[in-house]
């Protein structure tokens, strides 16, 4: 008995054209992904090649460990150590300030906040992430530095402390958002399991929720740290830029200069081709190596944490240490010692002893508290942290809005600047910013989505994929000032674009590329595998599956990533500082090779270069915040809509 079906359908043969098309499309995505790697390789090579003469002429050790940076002295000194120390001090300070506040806020938002509060606070904090760094710098320069000078009765408020506080505030939103995601994604069963055993909410949070979320929280902290290390504009505006190593090292009121600040402040003035010029590339190389080290260290820690959490792989020593109750005490003791040291260098012996004693008392008191008292105390601290975060946000926004509003007028929004921006408007800057962003997105979106499709859909885990992924990670960790430096030397000078819109667009496009790749890849991965299998099982080709089944539900996620990139590109100053921006322009640019005005650059120049323009400076800051804020508001709304619909990821 032979069935007829065998005769009816011959076995499928090789297919011709559609296969060719599939291969072409696959190659296209691979090419997109390779662009990221090439870009990174290129930037790295550029920095190293341009930095080499400095290392060769001065000596590697002299550059890395020299304790004096004084390029115009006779003889000039090019020691990067004080700059690196400055960067590390400011970053460390920012973390000490930001980590407790943001983790506490994340715990509050994830575990304690009533839904209504959460829905209000969370977008507000994400909005804080959208405030461009130059606005923070401006605020820091006008308000924070002055406040520090008066309240600590020091000669100048431009200091490690100012930089740390400002950077801390700037990293708050990143750490809060990512930690909160990690905390919220701890399965409810864990909490229920703990509560069902009679644990208090605080015990559950401390012993179950936070440990489970630890990898995510760690990632958040490292992400914030990366941001802090790479930040240029705000730091440059408030740290005083004196290339000294504070003495003692805990003197938080000493001015310092960071690696990024050095690039931002000196790149524009240095004679191109001089030893000083090459030394700046050496600085950029060191900066990139530090960020790279942080990122690599981070992924190593995360791998271990993840491995120990899932029980796979060798048990992590770190997690073991963190899990040990006695070691848990080490952190607060260390914090108390550190606080005492800082108090000592700022205020002398007495405050130092007082701080240390207070810390010890607190530590001694904690174990004596009953469960309920402990919970109350812990929650009180959480509430205080949240209140502090909200207050910081409110102060910054109120200051800028209240002083910026009077500047806003029809003429301000539609006119050209006059009298060095003290009078007239900022219309060309608004248009310029829009053009820069549009160009950057038009470049980065297709490339980024293509690369993400390659990584998420066509990946074969091999050496190339790993290379691409590290390329994206590295590009993501590259400080924006390094993009600016690269853009200036490569696009502006080498390719002879000149200071032009095009150079700025390409530089910004490179900068936002990793954001788009990551968010798109994330969105693609959230599409259930079942949908892909369902489509493939119907005989759809891979590309048909991706295009018709995977991309549509991932679209909101991709859109979110795109909008975030728009916000970031609109607010960045460092990459356009030397590549695209002009201070003043009466007519709009008429070709891609014309320079443009841009809001963040305009704000930077007004704030630092033009005395007596405070009202227009506040006005520009407000317009910039409104623009970026609007972009973020759209993102948040889009996501909320999709979350509410229980629909596609975003």
């Amino acid at each position: 008995m032979h069935p007829t079906s065998t005769a009816r359908l011959p076995a499928p043969a090789r297919a011709g054209r559609s296969h060719l098309e599939e291969h072409a499309i696959r190659a296209l995505w691979l090419a997109c992904a390779l662009v990221a790697v090439l870009a990174v390789g290129f930037i790295l090579a550029f920095l190293v090649v341009y930095g080499l003469p400095a290392f060769a002429e001065i000596g590697v050790l002299e550059v890395l460990l020299g304790d004096s940076w004084s390029p115009t002295a006779t003889p000039p000194a090019f020691g990067i150590l004080p700059l690196a120390v400055g960067t590390l001090l400011v970053t460390l300070g920012a973390m000490l300030f930001a980590v407790p506040l943001s983790v506490a806020t994340a715990i509050y938002l994830g575990e304690l906040a009533p839904p209504r509060v959460r829905n209000l606070v969370r977008p507000a904090i994400e909005l804080l992430a959208g405030i461009p760094s130059v606005v923070f710098g401006f605020f820091g320069l006008i308000v924070l530095v002055e406040w520090l000078r008066v309240s600590f009765a020091v000669p100048s408020g431009e200091s490690v402390l100012a930089g740390s506080l400002l950077l801390g505030v700037m990293t708050l939103p990143t750490i809060i958002s990512v930690s909160e995601d990690a905390i919220s994604s701890v399965p409810r069963e864990f909490r229920e399991g703990s509560l069902a055993l009679g644990a208090t909410r605080w015990q559950t949070i401390r012993r179950v929720v936070v440990p489970s979320a630890l990898p995510g929280v760690t990632a958040a902290i490292i992400l914030g740290m990366g941001r802090a290390i790479g930040e240029t504009m705000a730091v440059m505006m408030v740290t005083g830029n004196a290339a000294v190593i504070p003495s003692p090292i805990t003197d938080v009121l000493s001015p310092v200069r960071t690696l990024t600040g050095t690039l931002g402040i000196e790149m524009g003035e240095v004679a191109i081709g001089s030893l000083h010029y090459h030394a700046l590339f050496a600085v950029a190389t060191v900066l990139l190596v530090i960020t790279l080290a942080v990122n690599l260290g981070a992924s190593a820690i995360l791998r271990r944490l993840n491995a120990s959490a899932t029980g796979r792989g060798s048990p992590s020593r770190l997690a073991a240490v963190l899990g040990r109750p006695r070691a848990g005490m080490a952190v607060p003791v260390l914090a108390a010692v550190l606080a005492a040291a800082v108090a000592h260098s700022v205020g002398g012996l007495l405050p130092a002893l007082a701080v240390f004693a207070a810390g010890l008392l607190l530590l001694a008191a904690v174990p004596r508290l009953s469960r309920n008292q402990a919970e109350k105390a812990a929650f009180l601290l959480l509430y205080l942290a949240v209140a502090a975060v909200v207050a910081i946000l409110a102060i910054i926004l109120l200051d800028i809005v209240s002083k910026g509003l009077p500047a806003l007028s029809w003429e301000f929004l539609t006119g050209s600047p006059r009298d060095l921006g003290r009078a007239g408007g900022i219309f060309p800057a608004i248009v310029g910013t829009l053009c820069l962003v549009a160009g950057a997105i038009a470049l980065a979106l297709p490339l980024g989505v293509g690369a993400a499709i390659h990584l998420a859909e066509y990946r074969r885990e091999n050496r190339l994929t790993r290379l691409i992924r590290s390329g994206v990670d590295l590009l993501n960790g590259t400080p924006s000032i390094v993009f600016g430096l690269f853009g200036f030397t490569f696009f502006v000078l080498y390719l002879e674009f000149g200071v032009s819109m095009l150079a700025g667009q390409v530089t910004l496009g490179l900068m936002v590329l990793p954001t788009i790749i990551r968010t798109t890849e994330e969105a693609l991965r959230q599409v259930p595998q079942g949908l892909r299998e369902g489509s493939l099982a119907l005989g759809a080709t891979q590309w048909q599956t991706v295009r018709r089944v995977v991309l549509p539900p991932a679209a909101p996620g991709i859109l979110t990533g795109t909008i975030l990139s728009v916000g970031r590109a609109a607010g960045e100053t460092a990459p356009i500082l030397f590549t695209a921006a002009v201070f003043s322009q009466r007519h709009l640019p008429s070709s891609l090779l014309d320079p443009v005005m841009a809001l963040p650059y305009h704000l930077f120049v007004l704030a630092t270069n033009v005395p007596g323009a405070q009202q227009n400076t506040y006005g520009t800051a407000l317009v910039l915040i409104l623009l970026v804020g609007a972009v973020y508001a759209v993102t948040i709304a889009v996501r909320a809509r999709y979350r509410a619909a229980g629909g596609a990821p975003g």
């Binding site: 005989g539 089944v549 629909g647």
Partner: protein, 257 residues
């Protein structure tokens, strides 16, 4: 130990081995699947029955680190041969998954998806295919007046029948079913089982199930798998009433599983 069932063979494996990384999930599987019959694969969790099923349309390609050795033939052609058109294979060998996985599109678009990707553009033809497929899947009467509504609004049983309709719309000659009822309630299960009974007139059906009663009810041939091996394979009646292997008997009588 594996017999050749009477009717013409449509799918066949010879000494098929499969590894997930270092773990061997299938060992020396040799099986002949008869055309236009319902064949059931049973066995405890992790025995490899779903893995074997996914070999028939090369769905395991999607699993990283998955390696296959030995022969798997469809209409006598080696489907793992280089250059073999896997897309065409999957078009002919359809699959229904354990968890209903309708696309986040309308009911109509879910069914029309297959014909569309295979180049059908004519609206009238598509309409006809959609109606015919939904009728064959016994879903038409329930969704006739809401074809444009999202498929995710359907109940689990309806979603699964929609997935079957979606599969039928590309006119396969084999339908692989991977525990299609495990996520469904008894009433929805009964509907799917009735459907399978209809389908076997026109299609070859291979169903993986952990539910022995279901295998007994719907299938004509049954293979029992254990730890990656095909322990026993034969006519359903024989396997359930006079198992040749002690292991099969123990499983069927509920001594383990």
């Amino acid at each position: 130990m594996t017999g050749t069932p009477a009717p013409g063979t449509i799918i066949e494996t010879r000494g098929l081995d499969l590894w997930y990384g270092p773990c061997q999930a299938l060992k020396e599987i040799t099986i002949l699947i008869p055309a236009n019959r319902v064949t059931a694969l049973i066995g405890p969790s992790g025995c490899g029955k779903s893995t074997l099923l996914r070999c028939f349309n090369r769905m395991n390609d999607l699993v990283p680190d998955c390696r296959v050795a030995g022969l798997a033939l469809y209409h006598g052609a080696d489907i793992n041969a280089p250059g073999y058109d896997v897309v065409e294979l999957r078009k002919r060998v359809g699959m229904v998954f354990q968890k209903p996985n309708p696309f986040p599109k309308s009911i109509y678009e879910n069914v029309a998806y297959g014909p569309r990707i295979h180049g059908e553009r004519d609206r009238a033809t598509l309409d006809a295919v959609v109606e015919r497929s939904l009728r064959s899947a016994a879903l038409w009467d329930e969704v006739e007046d809401r074809l444009q509504e999202p498929a995710l609004g359907l109940s689990g049983g309806q979603q699964q029948r929609l997935c079957i309709a979606r599969t039928l719309a590309v006119e396969p000659d084999v339908i692989l079913m991977d525990e299609p009822c495990s996520a469904l309630d008894p009433i929805a299960t009964a509907k799917i089982e009735n459907l399978i009974d209809d389908l076997k007139k026109r299609y070859t059906v291979i169903i993986v199930t952990h539910n022995m009663q279901q295998a007994a009810r719907v299938s004509e041939f049954t293979g029992f798998m254990y730890l990656g091996e095909l322990v026993e394979y034969g006519e359903t009646l024989q396997v359930f009433e006079r198992p040749a292997e002690r292991l099969t008997e123990n499983y069927i009588t509920g001594r383990f599983g």
